[in-house]
Subunit: 227 residues, 2 copies
Amino acid sequence: MDREKRSDVPLGRRMPQATTRIVVADRNVITRVGLRSILERSTGFAVIAEATSYDAVIDAVDEHGPDVLIIDLDLGDDTTRGLKIVEEVTDRYPATKVLVLANTLSEMIVVEALRRGANGYLCKDDVKADELGKGVKAIQDGETVLGKGVGNLVAHSLGSTRQTEHLTDREVDVIKHVAKGLSNKQIAAAMFISESTIKFHLQNASRKLNAHRRAEIVHRAAAAGLL
Amino acid sequence: MDREKRSDVPLGRRMPQATTRIVVADRNVITRVGLRSILERSTGFAVIAEATSYDAVIDAVDEHGPDVLIIDLDLGDDTTRGLKIVEEVTDRYPATKVLVLANTLSEMIVVEALRRGANGYLCKDDVKADELGKGVKAIQDGETVLGKGVGNLVAHSLGSTRQTEHLTDREVDVIKHVAKGLSNKQIAAAMFISESTIKFHLQNASRKLNAHRRAEIVHRAAAAGLL
DNA sequence: TAACGACCTAGCCAAATGGCTAGGTAGCAG
DNA sequence: CTGCTACCTAGCCATTTGGCTAGGTCGTTA
C-alpha cells in the first residue's frame, strides 16, 4: 500500500531489473559474509551495505533506503536497543521491510519485534539456505515470515490472556545483580536503595516474566538476551 | 612430529600446492557458507567437507583426515558431546588440528576444550575476517591460537587455585529444574529422589561453578551452554 | 581388593526468599 | 488537574535456601 511512496525516498541507483536491495546488520563477520554469499548466489538480491553497530544500522538505512533490512537484534550489550531500531526503521521508512535474524528464540523478543513492525523473524540455527531468499521475496510481497518454531511461540503468546509486558530498566538492573548471586541486602547496598525496593522490583519482574523464583527470573531474562 | 603419519590416512586428492584441507562443523548454514567464503577467498585453503551434527563430524574426519577441523562445540543440545569430539579427534588423528569457534565465552568450556587438545579457540563475534586464515596457518605451525578475551580467561583459570571441575549429568539435570523455578521439594518429586539429594547435588554444583546462590548457578550453567 | 567417582540420604540452624498489604514521590500525557 | 508509569519504602509470616556434618550403595578402575 505504501509502495508508491518508494519514489519519495532517496534511492541510490536503481537497477534495470527488479533487484532487491538489502542491508545486513550483524556484529559477526562470518554471518555477514555468509548472508551475502547465500543471497547473491541467486540473482535478484544485492547486499548494498553492512552494519555492525546500532548507530551504523540507522546510518545505512538513512543513506541507502534499502528494500529489506536483515538484522540481528543483538548488536551490542542492549538488545532493547535493537527493538527500538526495528520500530524506528518501520516507522520512518514504511517501504523498507525488516527481517529479524536471531540467534536464540525468546517469546518476549519475538512478540516485541513483531509488535514494533518487523515483517519476519527467522532463527539462524534453524534456517535453511534456500529459505533466506524465499523469505526475503515473501516479505517483499507483503507476507510476514515466521521461521520454524517462531509461529508456535506467537500463537502461544496470542492464546495466553497475559500480554507480554516489558521489564523496566531498574528491574533489569536488579536481575543482573541477582544473576551474580547477590542477596537482596547486597543488591540494595550496591544500588543505594532499600532492600524493600529490591523485593518490590523482583516481585514485579516475577509477574511480568511469569516466574516465581529468582533462578527462573534469571533464566528467562538471560534467554531473552537481557543480561 | 606426526606429520609423516599423514600419508597413512586416506587423502582424497592431494593438491600440487600445499593446500590446507579443512572440515567445518557448525549447525548454522550461514556460518558454514561464511567460513567457506572467507577461507577460500585467500588461496591455500580448501573446505573439503561440512558437518552439522556430532556424528557427521566424526564421519567427516574419518573419511577426509583433514589438516584442520573448525568446529562449533554446540552442535546439538549437549555441549559436553562437543568436548568429547575434540578429545576423540586430537587423540585419534594427531595430525589434524582442531580450532574451536564458539558463540559465547565460558571459562569452563574454554579450559575443557584446551585440556582435551584443542589447538585454538576463537569467539565468532570477536573474530575479524583476516584473523581466520592467519589463525589456521598459525595452528598448522604448531601454535595455539587464542582469540581476544580467551587468553585472559585461560590466564585467570591458571592463576586460580581452584581447577575447573566439570558438572556431572545428575547435577546438570537438577540445575535444569532449578532454572524452571522449581523448589527442591518439587525437583525431588520430579526426579523421584530425596530432597536431600537435590541439596547435595546443588552444593556440589555450587562449589564447581564457584557460585553461592541457585540464581548464580543457573546463570553460569546457562552461560556455559549447559541448559 | 582397594580406591575412586557418581550417586543417594538425613538432620540441624541461621539466613534468605516469596507473597502479601499498604503506603509514598516525581514526571509526563491527556 | 487527573491519571498513569516508574520508582521507592515498610512490615509480616510461612517457606525455602545455604552451609554444614555424617553417613550409605554401586560400578569402574588401578
